[in-house]
């Protein structure tokens, strides 16, 4: 791979795109749309072998599909979609189908451990997690989560019961986190075999019980790159931080006008700092006609607005997978909007630029080394 060359994969309402740039991240070459016409919720390149790229396409006619490219998106092949494991004793409904199916949408891919090439984790609606060890050719359900005893208390959010966040602790190979709307955050310390709800301290505004074990509407989580016991959480009910590997959470976002939002990212070269883009809760738009990206600092315990002036006037919103950051120094931070703008900061959010290409509404933005 070219040293410092960056690839940004964008999933949109109408297909997927790739953007590549050098380490300056000022000029971008755009390719796409791939899988035109499909709702591509997520595209992920394999950091262990970036020429392998995977796209999660959801389609009202044909259902969910997984596509794989072995040559950086030049050619794609459909590979096996995950299937809900159908129990023999599961009741049939009056339509002749199972009461418990099917998989509605494919949401999020996360590569497995560095030393397990070809391994991937996949989150889907309805709130299920799958693992592949053969580059997505086949998927096995992780039933420790999929059949979790708290499952009857999970509920779908407006986007469905989506499993949208899958994080692996780089310092503890068996430790994983997932986030489901609206079930909350769960942690596994045995590689995904068993799972424990981790929502203590996150209040639920939309249920009679404000402090349940599960049912929180987490929107996105991120691990601090230097200290993975520090976890950042954008929840329906505010911005939270944990310093004990999600055992307890503290809401830190109340100082903002609004701390509702969907996105969070923690750049690898900015330890102790995370970025959020809060939205007004009812409209899901940036407050006051200006989408703002705040930097949270663990050192100062304060938020700092990073978008200066009004460079992007308008009413912009974001989906939960639409912000990511790269591994370079200074850090690149990337934010897509529901109306197709891609905002890029090549300097750790000191400045922001808009890529001069208007995409369909953006679901996801994922950065990887260019192959």
């Amino acid at each position: 791979m070219a040293k410092g060359k960056v690839a940004v994969w964008v999933g949109t309402r109408k297909g997927a795109y790739s953007l590549t740039s050098d380490a300056k991240r000022r000029k971008w070459a755009v390719k796409g749309p791939f899988h035109a016409g499909n709702d591509v919720f997520h595209v992920a390149a394999d950091p262990r072998d970036p020429k392998f790229v995977y796209a999660l396409a959801n389609n009202g006619w044909f259902g969910p599909r997984v596509f794989r490219s072995s040559n950086s998106g030049a050619k794609w092949n459909e590979v096996a979609p995950p299937m809900m494991s159908l129990l023999k004793d599961r009741k049939k409904n009056e339509m002749g189908g199972s009461e418990a199916g099917p998989i509605v949408n494919l949401w999020h891919l996360t590569p497995g451990p560095e030393d397990e090439p070809g391994s991937w984790f996949l989150g889907v609606d309805p709130g299920m997690l799958f693992r592949s060890d053969d580059r997505a050719a086949s998927w096995a359900p992780l039933d420790g989560l999929n059949k979790h005893p708290t499952r009857p208390k999970w509920n779908p959010g407006a986007g469905g019961m989506c499993l949208h966040s899958i994080l692996l602790d780089p310092t503890r190979p068996k430790r994983m986190y997932i986030g489901i709307s609206a079930a909350g955050v769960f942690r596994s310390d045995d590689g995904g075999e068993s799972w424990t709800p981790k929502n203590h301290g996150v209040e639920v505004s939309f249920q009679p019980d404000k402090n349940p074990e599960v049912g929180q509407c987490v929107h996105k989580i991120a691990l601090d790159p230097a200290n993975p016991n520090t976890v950042y959480r954008q929840d329906h009910d505010g911005i939270h931080v944990s310093h004990d590997a999600a055992d307890t959470w503290k809401r830190v976002g109340k100082v903002l006008d609004t701390d509702f939002g969907f996105v969070v990212t923690a750049p690898k070269e900015m330890p102790g700092e995370a970025f959020f883009a809060p939205l007004e809760g009812m409209s899901r738009l940036g407050p006051g006609g200006q989408l703002q990206v705040y930097k949270w600092s663990e050192k100062t315990r304060k938020f700092t607005p990073t978008v200066k002036g009004r460079p992007f006037p308008g009413d912009l919103g974001t989906h939960r997978d639409a912000m990511d950051s790269d591994w370079l120094n200074p850090s690149g931070i990337y934010l897509g909007t529901t109306t197709g703008q891609l905002l890029v900061s090549p300097d750790g959010a000191k400045s922001w630029n808009e890529v001069p290409y208007r995409f369909p509404g953006i679901h996801s933005v994922t950065v990887a080394p260019a192959a």
């Binding site: 006619w61 299937m83 199972s98 418990a100 099917p102």
Partner: protein, 106 residues
Amino acid sequence: MTFSDAFIDTSGLPHRPMVAVRLDAMLKEFVPRRALTSSAKSVRAMIEELETNYPKVRFRLRDETGQLRRYVKVFVNGDEVDRRTWLSTPLAPSDTVDILHSIQGG
């Protein structure tokens, strides 16, 4: 080319030997033909036969629970099959089945 692979206009014959199956253009990615014949005796058996002969269409018309996907419509002799009973809808050799996709999205 085998007999069942070809679409043969048998409307002029006194008895058509098989069920005529017509597919809309949406399915061309999965089934290379727009018209087929089938010996199936129910809509379910016809779709299972289609999935066996053209594995790419598996899970595209039906989800993994066996239900028709939301925007898939099946018509027998011009009448839409009731989604509640479509599995057991019988087919006779003279029937014509149309599989269509409704318009969706924007």
